[in-house]
Amino acid sequence: MQWHSISEFLAMGGYAFYVWGSFGVTFGCMAVELLSLKSRNKRIAQAIKQEAI
């Protein structure tokens, strides 16, 4: 473990914005991709159900 306190961990040696920003962008983009796929699947399911009726 590299850290002595939570505030030290969060500060990332003064690079907090860049380091946490990078992780945020990466996992944020993945989350957006997953959510857009989920809504696409929902649309398809609705369309198929409609077709069945």
Binding site: M1, Q2, W3, F9, M12, G13, G14, Y15, F17, Y18, V19, G21, S22, F23, V25, T26, C29, M30, E33, L34, L37, R40, N41, I44, A45, I48, K49, E51, A52
Partner: protein
């Protein structure tokens, strides 16, 4: 999909992998693979993140700022690797005239573009504190930006042509021609004098980094790989459903029975 299971011993001997080239048989197979890849991706990305922010030591030159490497490098690898895979499927589609190959290429493109954007933005967030600039027009950054434009060109071209078959063929040609950019990105740091640093990991030399840093990066990369497989398979299934107007074979999945 019960009819695809081998029934007798002779059928089992004749079991043919090529049957999975058909969207109809590939659809349930992909459905079985997705949860395993998704679970593996979640575990490995969490472990890679743990190694990256808790276990890996501070860098003697860049302090804590270097930790961006744990997302930046794997994202950059997959921005290039997924492009090559997309071009390969597009090429297979052209050669074999196989619908599923085109659908795979189409399904890979958004994820490749996403990783390209991530590599560019995290690179920018790394460049600002280390170089003093969000962006420089050096060979590595410029060729990676071109990669993003190639991805965008690929799906804009597909969206622009109404006839699916023609759209697949035209965009496949674009994907194949654009593949020349990938080795240019990869070797740009060798061929030109770039501000961007050289490769930290290469196949021929010992890695220029501490073992635990390398481990964190590789774990994250395998996590991104599994994530890519899961997301691409989810998307190719959506693609199969959307392209098959009748969709009769999937009604059972939705509990609607056969009609």
């Amino acid at each position: 999909m019960k009819n695809i299971e081998p029934k007798t011993d002779i059928d089992r001997l004749k079991f043919n992998w090529l049957q999975y080239a058909s969207p109809k048989t590939f659809y349930p197979l992909a459905g079985k693979i997705i949860p395993w890849c998704a679970a593996g991706a979640a575990i490995l990305i969490a472990y890679g993140l743990y190694l990256g922010v808790f276990v890996a030591p501070t860098d003697f030159q860049q302090g804590e700022g270097y930790r961006i490497i744990f997302v930046h490098v794997p994202a950059a690898w997959f921005s290039m690797f997924l492009y090559l895979l997309m071009a390969l499927y597009a090429g297979l589609g052209l050669v074999l005239n196989a619908r599923l190959s085109y659908m795979m290429a189409t399904a890979i493109a958004p994820t490749g573009a996403m990783f390209t954007l991530v590599a560019l933005v995290t690179g920018s967030l790394w460049g600002k504190p280390m170089w003093g600039a969000w962006w420089v027009w050096d060979a590595r950054l410029t060729s990676e930006l071109i990669l993003l434009f190639l991805y965008i060109g690929y799906f804009s071209l597909q969206a622009a042509i109404d006839d699916k078959n023609r759209a697949d063929k035209a965009s496949a040609v674009l994907a194949l021609v654009g593949a020349i950019n990938v080795p240019i990105i990869y070797f740009s740091v060798k061929w030109w004098n770039t501000l961007h640093q050289g490769a930290s990991v290469s196949l021929t030399q010992a890695p220029a980094m501490a073992a635990v840093m390398l481990k964190g990066m590789l774990v994250m990369a395998i996590g991104f790989w599994l994530y890519s497989i899961a997301v691409v398979l989810i998307r190719v299934r959506a693609e199969i459903l959307e392209r098959d107007s009748k969709a009769a074979m999937f009604r059972q999945d939705l509990g609607l029975g056969k009609s």
